[in-house]
Protein backbone atom coordinates (compact mmCIF):
# COMPACT_ATOMS: atom_id res chain seq x y z
CA UNK A 1 0.00 0.00 0.00
CA UNK A 2 1.11 3.54 -0.76
CA UNK A 3 -0.38 6.53 1.06
CA UNK A 4 -0.68 10.14 -0.01
CA UNK A 5 -2.66 12.95 1.55
CA UNK A 6 -4.01 16.39 0.69
CA UNK A 7 -6.15 19.01 2.37
CA UNK A 8 -9.32 20.75 1.16
CA UNK A 9 -11.30 23.24 3.30
CA UNK A 10 -9.69 22.02 6.55
CA UNK A 11 -10.53 18.41 5.70
CA UNK A 12 -7.65 15.96 5.19
CA UNK A 13 -8.10 13.42 2.40
CA UNK A 14 -6.03 10.26 2.80
CA UNK A 15 -5.48 8.31 -0.42
CA UNK A 16 -4.25 4.76 0.12
CA UNK A 17 -3.41 2.90 -3.10
CA UNK A 18 -2.87 -0.74 -3.98
CA UNK A 19 -3.79 -3.63 -1.72
CA UNK A 20 -4.21 -3.44 2.03
CA UNK A 21 -3.29 -6.88 3.34
CA UNK A 22 -1.26 -6.49 6.53
CA UNK A 23 2.33 -6.06 7.55
CA UNK A 24 3.47 -2.42 7.45
CA UNK A 25 0.13 -1.17 6.04
CA UNK A 26 -1.44 -0.71 9.47
CA UNK A 27 1.35 1.34 10.98
CA UNK A 28 1.59 3.56 7.89
CA UNK A 29 -2.02 4.77 8.19
CA UNK A 30 -1.98 4.69 11.99
CA UNK A 31 1.14 6.88 12.20
CA UNK A 32 -0.32 9.34 9.68
CA UNK A 33 -3.54 9.59 11.67
CA UNK A 34 -1.73 10.38 14.93
CA UNK A 35 0.38 12.98 13.13
CA UNK A 36 -2.85 14.64 11.93
CA UNK A 37 -4.43 14.54 15.40
CA UNK A 38 -1.28 16.05 16.92
CA UNK A 39 -1.65 18.90 14.43
CA UNK A 40 -5.33 19.29 15.38
CA UNK A 41 -6.56 18.02 12.02
CA UNK A 42 -9.44 15.77 12.98
CA UNK A 43 -11.76 15.83 9.99
CA UNK A 44 -10.57 13.04 7.72
CA UNK A 45 -11.81 11.41 4.52
CA UNK A 46 -10.29 8.11 3.40
CA UNK A 47 -10.60 7.93 -0.39
CA UNK A 48 -10.70 4.25 -1.33
CA UNK A 49 -10.80 4.74 -5.11
CA UNK A 50 -7.22 3.52 -5.51
CA UNK A 51 -7.52 0.44 -3.30
CA UNK A 52 -7.69 -2.77 -5.38
CA UNK A 53 -8.78 -4.87 -2.41
CA UNK A 54 -8.35 -5.17 1.31
CA UNK A 55 -8.67 -8.01 3.77
CA UNK A 56 -9.71 -8.06 7.43
CA UNK A 57 -6.49 -6.24 8.31
CA UNK A 58 -7.64 -3.40 6.07
CA UNK A 59 -11.06 -3.38 7.72
CA UNK A 60 -9.28 -3.30 11.09
CA UNK A 61 -7.30 -0.26 9.93
CA UNK A 62 -10.54 1.52 8.97
CA UNK A 63 -12.08 0.68 12.36
CA UNK A 64 -8.97 1.82 14.20
CA UNK A 65 -9.04 5.11 12.24
CA UNK A 66 -12.74 5.58 13.02
CA UNK A 67 -12.39 4.95 16.77
CA UNK A 68 -9.12 6.91 17.11
CA UNK A 69 -10.64 10.01 15.51
CA UNK A 70 -13.87 9.65 17.47
CA UNK A 71 -11.90 9.36 20.75
CA UNK A 72 -10.18 12.65 19.88
CA UNK A 73 -13.46 14.43 19.00
CA UNK A 74 -12.78 13.98 15.32
CA UNK A 75 -14.70 12.39 12.49
CA UNK A 76 -13.94 9.91 9.70
CA UNK A 77 -15.75 9.61 6.37
CA UNK A 78 -15.17 7.14 3.55
CA UNK A 79 -15.36 8.02 -0.14
CA UNK A 80 -15.36 6.06 -3.40
CA UNK A 81 -15.89 2.68 -1.75
CA UNK A 82 -15.33 0.10 -4.49
CA UNK A 83 -17.73 -2.80 -5.07
CA UNK A 84 -15.22 -5.28 -3.65
CA UNK A 85 -14.76 -3.31 -0.43
CA UNK A 86 -18.49 -2.55 -0.21
CA UNK A 87 -19.26 -6.29 -0.28
CA UNK A 88 -16.79 -6.86 2.58
CA UNK A 89 -18.34 -4.02 4.60
CA UNK A 90 -21.77 -5.55 3.97
CA UNK A 91 -20.96 -9.16 4.95
CA UNK A 92 -19.16 -7.97 8.11
CA UNK A 93 -22.00 -5.55 9.03
CA UNK A 94 -19.49 -2.70 9.11
CA UNK A 95 -21.60 -0.88 6.53
CA UNK A 96 -23.63 0.33 9.53
CA UNK A 97 -20.53 1.82 11.19
CA UNK A 98 -19.03 4.01 8.48
CA UNK A 99 -20.36 7.18 6.86
CA UNK A 100 -19.60 6.49 3.20
CA UNK A 101 -20.03 8.85 0.23
CA UNK A 102 -19.90 8.45 -3.54
CA UNK A 103 -17.23 11.11 -3.98
CA UNK A 104 -14.61 13.00 -2.00
CA UNK A 105 -16.50 16.27 -2.63
CA UNK A 106 -19.68 14.82 -1.11
CA UNK A 107 -17.72 13.51 1.86
CA UNK A 108 -16.16 16.95 2.45
CA UNK A 109 -19.55 18.66 2.25
CA UNK A 110 -21.00 16.22 4.79
CA UNK A 111 -18.86 17.59 7.64
CA UNK A 112 -20.95 19.90 9.78
Amino acid sequence: MKLTDREVNNVVILEPRGKIMGGPDASLLHDKLYELIENDKKRVVIDLAGVEWMNSTGLGILISSYTTLRNHQGELKLANVTDKIQSLLTITKLVSVFDAHDSVDEAIKSFK
Binding site: G60, I63, I91
Partner: protein, 139 residues
Protein backbone atom coordinates in the same frame (compact mmCIF):
# COMPACT_ATOMS: atom_id res chain seq x y z
CA UNK B 1 17.47 -14.11 6.72
CA UNK B 2 15.30 -16.76 5.05
CA UNK B 3 13.64 -15.89 1.76
CA UNK B 4 10.63 -17.11 -0.21
CA UNK B 5 11.13 -20.41 -2.02
CA UNK B 6 9.08 -21.18 -5.14
CA UNK B 7 8.88 -24.75 -6.43
CA UNK B 8 6.32 -25.45 -9.15
CA UNK B 9 2.84 -24.83 -7.73
CA UNK B 10 4.12 -24.02 -4.23
CA UNK B 11 5.61 -21.02 -2.44
CA UNK B 12 7.14 -21.20 1.04
CA UNK B 13 7.74 -18.03 3.04
CA UNK B 14 9.21 -17.32 6.47
CA UNK B 15 6.70 -16.30 9.15
CA UNK B 16 6.72 -12.54 8.70
CA UNK B 17 4.01 -10.28 7.21
CA UNK B 18 6.66 -8.66 5.01
CA UNK B 19 6.37 -11.75 2.76
CA UNK B 20 2.63 -11.35 2.16
CA UNK B 21 3.24 -9.48 -1.14
CA UNK B 22 5.50 -12.33 -2.37
CA UNK B 23 2.68 -14.81 -1.77
CA UNK B 24 0.17 -12.51 -3.44
CA UNK B 25 2.28 -11.97 -6.57
CA UNK B 26 2.83 -15.73 -6.95
CA UNK B 27 -0.84 -16.52 -6.29
CA UNK B 28 -2.33 -13.90 -8.60
CA UNK B 29 0.13 -14.78 -11.38
CA UNK B 30 -0.77 -18.46 -11.08
CA UNK B 31 -4.52 -17.74 -11.07
CA UNK B 32 -4.29 -15.48 -14.13
CA UNK B 33 -2.34 -18.26 -15.82
CA UNK B 34 -5.35 -20.50 -15.15
CA UNK B 35 -7.54 -17.89 -16.85
CA UNK B 36 -9.41 -16.94 -13.67
CA UNK B 37 -11.47 -13.74 -14.00
CA UNK B 38 -10.26 -10.72 -12.02
CA UNK B 39 -13.11 -10.59 -9.50
CA UNK B 40 -12.48 -14.22 -8.52
CA UNK B 41 -8.71 -13.62 -8.42
CA UNK B 42 -9.36 -10.88 -5.86
CA UNK B 43 -11.65 -13.09 -3.75
CA UNK B 44 -9.06 -15.89 -3.65
CA UNK B 45 -6.23 -13.40 -3.00
CA UNK B 46 -8.13 -11.84 -0.09
CA UNK B 47 -8.83 -15.29 1.37
CA UNK B 48 -5.24 -16.50 1.01
CA UNK B 49 -3.92 -13.30 2.60
CA UNK B 50 -6.20 -14.00 5.59
CA UNK B 51 -4.96 -17.58 5.91
CA UNK B 52 -1.30 -16.64 5.52
CA UNK B 53 -1.72 -13.89 8.15
CA UNK B 54 -3.30 -16.44 10.50
CA UNK B 55 -0.56 -19.00 9.80
CA UNK B 56 2.14 -16.42 10.54
CA UNK B 57 0.57 -14.94 13.67
CA UNK B 58 -1.44 -17.75 15.27
CA UNK B 59 0.18 -20.87 13.78
CA UNK B 60 3.87 -20.11 13.68
CA UNK B 61 3.80 -17.29 16.30
CA UNK B 62 5.86 -15.14 13.90
CA UNK B 63 8.87 -17.45 14.34
CA UNK B 64 11.02 -16.63 11.31
CA UNK B 65 12.57 -20.10 11.15
CA UNK B 66 9.09 -21.62 10.69
CA UNK B 67 7.66 -21.53 7.19
CA UNK B 68 4.20 -20.99 5.74
CA UNK B 69 3.53 -23.11 2.65
CA UNK B 70 0.99 -22.13 -0.02
CA UNK B 71 0.12 -24.65 -2.75
CA UNK B 72 -2.18 -23.78 -5.65
CA UNK B 73 -3.79 -26.49 -7.77
CA UNK B 74 -6.54 -26.66 -10.36
CA UNK B 75 -8.82 -29.57 -11.24
CA UNK B 76 -11.26 -28.76 -14.04
CA UNK B 77 -13.02 -25.53 -13.11
CA UNK B 78 -12.10 -25.69 -9.41
CA UNK B 79 -9.07 -24.04 -7.84
CA UNK B 80 -7.77 -25.30 -4.49
CA UNK B 81 -5.27 -23.40 -2.36
CA UNK B 82 -3.72 -25.06 0.68
CA UNK B 83 -2.07 -22.91 3.34
CA UNK B 84 0.02 -24.84 5.86
CA UNK B 85 1.87 -23.76 8.98
CA UNK B 86 4.17 -25.52 11.43
CA UNK B 87 2.24 -24.55 14.56
CA UNK B 88 0.19 -26.23 17.22
CA UNK B 89 -3.19 -25.99 15.51
CA UNK B 90 -6.35 -24.10 16.41
CA UNK B 91 -10.02 -24.78 16.98
CA UNK B 92 -12.03 -22.85 14.36
CA UNK B 93 -15.18 -23.25 16.48
CA UNK B 94 -13.61 -21.09 19.21
CA UNK B 95 -13.47 -17.93 17.11
CA UNK B 96 -15.79 -15.16 18.46
CA UNK B 97 -18.68 -14.15 16.21
CA UNK B 98 -17.51 -11.00 14.38
CA UNK B 99 -21.13 -10.02 13.67
CA UNK B 100 -22.10 -9.82 17.35
CA UNK B 101 -22.79 -6.22 18.40
CA UNK B 102 -20.10 -6.35 21.09
CA UNK B 103 -17.48 -7.40 18.48
CA UNK B 104 -18.43 -5.03 15.68
CA UNK B 105 -15.70 -2.49 16.48
CA UNK B 106 -13.02 -5.08 17.21
CA UNK B 107 -10.04 -4.48 14.92
CA UNK B 108 -9.32 -8.21 14.50
CA UNK B 109 -11.24 -11.48 14.35
CA UNK B 110 -12.94 -11.35 10.93
CA UNK B 111 -10.42 -13.26 8.83
CA UNK B 112 -11.92 -16.76 8.81
CA UNK B 113 -15.44 -15.34 8.56
CA UNK B 114 -14.44 -13.50 5.38
CA UNK B 115 -12.78 -16.63 3.95
CA UNK B 116 -15.96 -18.65 4.54
CA UNK B 117 -18.00 -15.88 2.90
CA UNK B 118 -15.85 -15.68 -0.23
CA UNK B 119 -14.96 -19.33 -0.84
CA UNK B 120 -17.08 -22.34 -1.84
CA UNK B 121 -15.46 -24.69 0.68
CA UNK B 122 -13.06 -24.32 3.62
CA UNK B 123 -11.47 -27.36 5.28
CA UNK B 124 -9.17 -27.27 8.30
CA UNK B 125 -6.84 -30.21 8.91
CA UNK B 126 -4.64 -30.34 11.99
CA UNK B 127 -1.70 -32.75 11.99
CA UNK B 128 1.09 -33.34 14.43
CA UNK B 129 3.32 -31.03 12.43
CA UNK B 130 0.96 -28.10 11.90
CA UNK B 131 -2.34 -26.99 10.41
CA UNK B 132 -3.45 -26.94 6.79
CA UNK B 133 -6.44 -24.91 5.64
CA UNK B 134 -7.68 -25.85 2.16
CA UNK B 135 -9.99 -23.47 0.29
CA UNK B 136 -11.72 -24.23 -2.98
CA UNK B 137 -13.44 -21.95 -5.47
CA UNK B 138 -15.12 -22.62 -8.80
CA UNK B 139 -13.59 -20.38 -11.48
Amino acid sequence: MAKPIIQGDTIKVPSSPEFLPDVDIFLEGTLRGFGVQESVVADIAISVSELVNNAIVHGNKATLTKMVTVRITRAGNVVTVRVSDEGGGFDPTHVPDPLADENLLQEVGRGLFIVHSLMDKVEVEATGSGTTVAITKAI
